[in-house]
């Protein structure tokens, strides 16, 4: 074998490792986003102050750019992988069934659950971040009343249903993606892998239950 190595980041393994690393970082974003949004439960002042602290910090642009970079890398790599994988089998089987011992519903539907999550992301940002603007004054500081926007937004049952369906899709996506990232990055060990796979399922469950609780809470605040 040649001593000159051919290690393009766009080799089959490079692409998977980019998918895995960006996916794990996006999972990290989900956790911080959820923890931050839990200030909703504490009332308008806490949520608005949290939101103001985030958006008034100039570093937010850097963070948003990094986040956009992660999403773009993850999505573009996914599109490239899907196209290449389709090409790798130009003639389909007449009959093709899974053994039932390998792939799961989550692993089989990754591109679809990913697309749902992406559509959700766009609608979510348009509806809330770029949603109705109200302002309020807390502790003498004028700031955006994002709490009011959020509560108002989730008075529409359609918004809630779409949100929960999207979170179910994202939960399914991450329940495969989380452990899959460890496998792609080569972090597999017979002792730890079953625990990582369990953690992956729990993470998916956390995404569904944790995030779905937010719009339901908002809906219930509507009458007050």
């Amino acid at each position: 074998m040649s001593s000159k190595r051919k290690c393009s980041p766009l080799s089959s393994i490079g692409k998977k490792q980019i998918m895995g690393a960006t996916g794990l970082l996006l999972c990290g974003f989900l956790v911080t986003h959820f923890v931050g949004n839990c200030t909703l439960f504490l009332g308008p002042a806490a949520f608005n102050k949290y939101s103001h602290a985030l958006t008034s910090n100039p570093l937010i642009y850097l963070a948003e750019a990094a986040l956009l970079g992660l999403f773009l890398a993850h999505i573009l790599m996914a599109i490239k992988l899907v196209i290449e994988n389709k090409k790798a089998r130009p003639v389909e089987y007449h009959t093709y069934i899974k053994s039932g011992r390998g792939g799961t519903f989550a692993s089989k539907t990754m591109p679809y659950t990913g697309i749902i999550a992406l559509v959700f992301l766009v609608i979510h940002i348009l509806g809330l971040k770029f949603g109705t603007q109200y302002s309020t004054t807390i502790d003498g500081i004028e700031m955006r009343d994002i709490y009011k926007t959020t509560i108002e937004y989730f008075q529409d049952p359609l918004h809630i249903v779409f949100y929960i369906i999207s979170m179910i899709a994202l939960g399914i996506h991450t329940s495969h993606g989380f452990w899959s990232a460890f496998q792609s990055l080569g972090l597999s060990h017979p002792k730890y892998m079953p625990k990582i796979q369990l953690a992956s399922k729990l993470f998916g469950l956390f995404v569904v239950i944790g995030f779905s609780s937010l719009p339901i809470f908002c809906y219930l605040q509507g009458g007050h």
Binding site: M1, S12, A88, Y93, R101, G102, S107, Q183, S184
Partner: protein, 257 residues
């Protein structure tokens, strides 16, 4: 064997027929009576071919060699699964008792861009040879044989290397993968060498070279479904793919060029 006619089965077979690499090919229906449950799947195919010869037809081409489950030549997609429905079993070791009379059995060749169909159920698996030629070996300095115990190998690594070396290179992993990825095969070959001291030295460069060749040949990318592991007749674990990913990453980080 010794069964009588009441023990035999009648089967409806749908078999992929393709004259050559240029032909478009199609599924052809056959009816076969007198199939003993004790026959292997390949013996059933032999019986069908005997019938075709008697009827002046063209026999169905399929790969086979040892018929003992160790050569890796047999390669049929049976009812949508590589080597048929039984776990850790090659087509030659699959017995007709797994089917029942009246069953319709669909038989197809492996489907992958890198495995072009040569004729009927035979595919060209030369791509695997090219991957091995790219780095699936150890550059040995020849000389006098060393003392048997000069290089000590831990039991665990010896076992893991042997498990990886159980790969017979049949291509069921590629056939069963929804992306026609060859990662289980390549990772088994990388692992069997990486786990032993003689092979470990060149492991990173080997991984880079074999993965680059694998990509060049048009195999798909792994999506960690583990369908390859589930349908591998030798039970090769996807843990090997993780090892390959690790070796590749180490090589990519440490590369000077």
């Amino acid at each position: 064997m010794g069964g009588n006619s009441t023990d035999t089965m009648s089967l409806n077979l749908k078999v992929w027929r393709q004259k050559n690499n240029k032909d478009k090919g199609q599924m052809v229906d056959y009816k076969l009576d007198g199939v003993s449950p004790d026959m292997s799947f390949l013996e059933m195919m032999d019986t069908l071919n005997t019938k075709l010869i008697k009827e002046q037809g063209d026999t169905i081409a399929f790969d086979h060699d040892c018929r003992e489950g160790i050569c890796g030549m047999c390669s049929m997609m049976i009812n949508g699964q590589a080597h048929g429905p039984e776990a850790e079993t090659t087509t030659c070791q699959l017995h007709m008792r797994k089917f029942k009379t009246g069953d319709t059995i669909v038989v197809e060749p492996w489907r992958a861009k890198a495995f072009p169909v040569l004729k009927d159920l035979m595919v060209d698996r030369g791509a695997f040879d090219q991957i091995i030629a790219a780095g699936g070996y150890v550059n040995v300095n020849t000389g006098n044989p060393q003392d048997a115990n000069a290089i000590l190998i831990g039991q665990e690594n010896a076992e893991l290397a042997m498990d990886a070396a159980a790969c017979i290179g049949c291509g069921a992993c590629v056939a069963s993968c929804k992306n026609a990825s060859a990662m289980l095969f390549v990772s088994a070959k990388i692992s069997q060498l990486a786990l032993l001291p003689q092979g470990a030295v060149e492991s990173e460069a080997r991984t880079q070279a074999m993965v680059a060749k694998m990509d060049e040949l048009g195999f798909g990318n792994c999506t960690n479904e583990a369908e390859c592991e589930a349908q591998c007749p030798k039970g090769i674990k996807i843990e090997n793919i993780a090892r390959m990913n690790r070796e590749w990453f180490k090589g990519a980080l440490g590369s000077r060029n």
